[in-house]
Amino acid sequence: MIDKSDWEAANAALIAEGRKRFDPPTVEEIEDYFGGKLEGDHAAHVREALTYYPELIRVMTLPPPDPNVRVLSDSERERDWAAIRRKLEPEPLPFITRRKVAIALAAAAVVGLTLAVVMTSRSTSNGPITPTKAPIVATWKFRPDGIAGAGQRPLQIHPCDRCILKVLSAYAGDFPRYRIDIVYLGVNPPRTVVSRMDIHRDLADGTWAIEVDGKRLPQGFYRLDLYGVRGDVTEKQSAYTFEMLGR
């Protein structure tokens, strides 16, 4: 008679093999799957992947605990409250960033002063003043793919010289750092055209922002990927598809 633990061990080995073929579904996919929002091949793929990650299934199926349960002592509860308050304090800028900010401000002051001198000399010499074209700075706010349901159109972006792309994600975990990649989808395989590390979440509006030179985003379709980074581990958090319109 073969022990059940042997069947379980054999099954665990098959699950380990399966994990080499299937990455765990994203949090969005898991929530959408259990919420009945996925259909067709996508639902089938997530379902099959989940069978190799039973611990993720348990998180979704476990009923909530008794509301009257108390597991912490008063002192633990007070300590945790203090810890939460500390986590909510705004982080001071690191020294290197403060230096960068100071240098940038100094440089901006020099440029501003130079421009003022040039403009003053032009206006006093009564020469023709060539109108300068101001750069187009545009800010776009993204919601993750799938939030608006199937068949949604990707966000369309008008050409900009400096494009500030802000992304929202209700699903992203707390990571010390984040990375944003912008992938051009007009070639096969798709090509990463922008990759920016050390992105931090803006506590004021809860977004992650990246500023991109518009020249790097010619007309076409793109996907913006938000990653969480902790040590050597990089975890994809959300994806956003957008279309860059022509100039």
């Binding site: 008679m1 073969i2 059940k4 042997d6 069947w7 379980e8 061990a9 054999a10 099954n11 098959l14 699950i15 994990r19 765990p24 949090v27 929530e31 379902r47 099959e48 989940l50 069978t51 190799y52 990650y53 039973p54 611990e55 993720l56 299934i57 348990r58 998180v59 979704m60 199926t61 476990l62 909530p64 605990p65 008794d66 509301p67 349960v69 108390r70 597991v71 912490l72 633990e76 509860r77 945790d80 409250w81 810890a83 939460i84 308050r85 986590k87 909510l88 304090e89 699903y171 992203a172 975990g173 707390d174 506590l203 809860g206 969480g228 902790r230 040590g231 581990v233 990089t234 975890e235």
Partner: protein, 178 residues
């Protein structure tokens, strides 16, 4: 922390923090980690206070707690996967810790290989149910995951056992009744 929602937030904390901690412990996290993760839940809740609707307090916390747990497990999986691929020494240590000697291990691995081979001969729909059952999920969990009725879960498990007995001569024990 000095925002317009602070009083409401503190009230939420006082009423629900223990329950959120218990939730993480029930997910299988050690107590200290459960507290860390529960803190993360409340940090997220605070940051989204402007969008938060008071009438669905626990539901909001529950959804956030499940998200934090999913994220944590997925991140750990990635870490473990990385470690598995680079550390041969760790595998050696794990084998030493198990107890059985080399011969017993060889015998076990041969048995497990044969059991795996038998399972792989089942149809995919039977494999899916059996995989989740042997991983310790309840019938209800399997039902929710595969989108089939509990009766269908039991029927497929019985079918899998019959097939395994044909293939291998034995099948894992079960208690599902018709």
């Amino acid at each position: 922390m000095s925002g317009p929602h602070d009083t409401r937030f503190e009230d939420l904390y006082r009423r629900y923090y223990d329950r959120v901690c218990t939730f993480f412990i029930a997910f299988g996290f050690p107590r200290e980690q459960a507290r860390d993760l529960a803190q993360d839940v409340f940090v997220r809740v605070y940051r989204s206070m402007p969008d938060y609707r008071a009438e669905a307090e626990w539901s909001y916390l529950e959804t956030t707690a499940r998200r934090v747990a999913l994220n944590e497990i997925r991140t750990k999986k990635a870490t473990k996967h990385n470690a598995d691929t680079i550390s041969v020494d760790d595998q050696a240590v794990q084998l030493e810790d198990r107890g059985p000697g080399p011969e017993e291990l060889a015998g076990q691995s041969e048995l497990h290989r044969r059991l795996q081979s038998a399972i792989l001969q089942l149809s995919p729909r039977l494999q899916d149910v059996l995989r989740l059952y042997l991983a310790g999920l309840s019938y209800q969990d399997i039902e929710m995951t595969l989108g089939i009725s509990e009766d269908a879960v039991k029927t497929r498990l019985r079918e899998a056992r019959v097939r395994l007995r044909d293939i291998f001569g034995e099948a894992p024990e079960g208690n599902e009744s018709p």
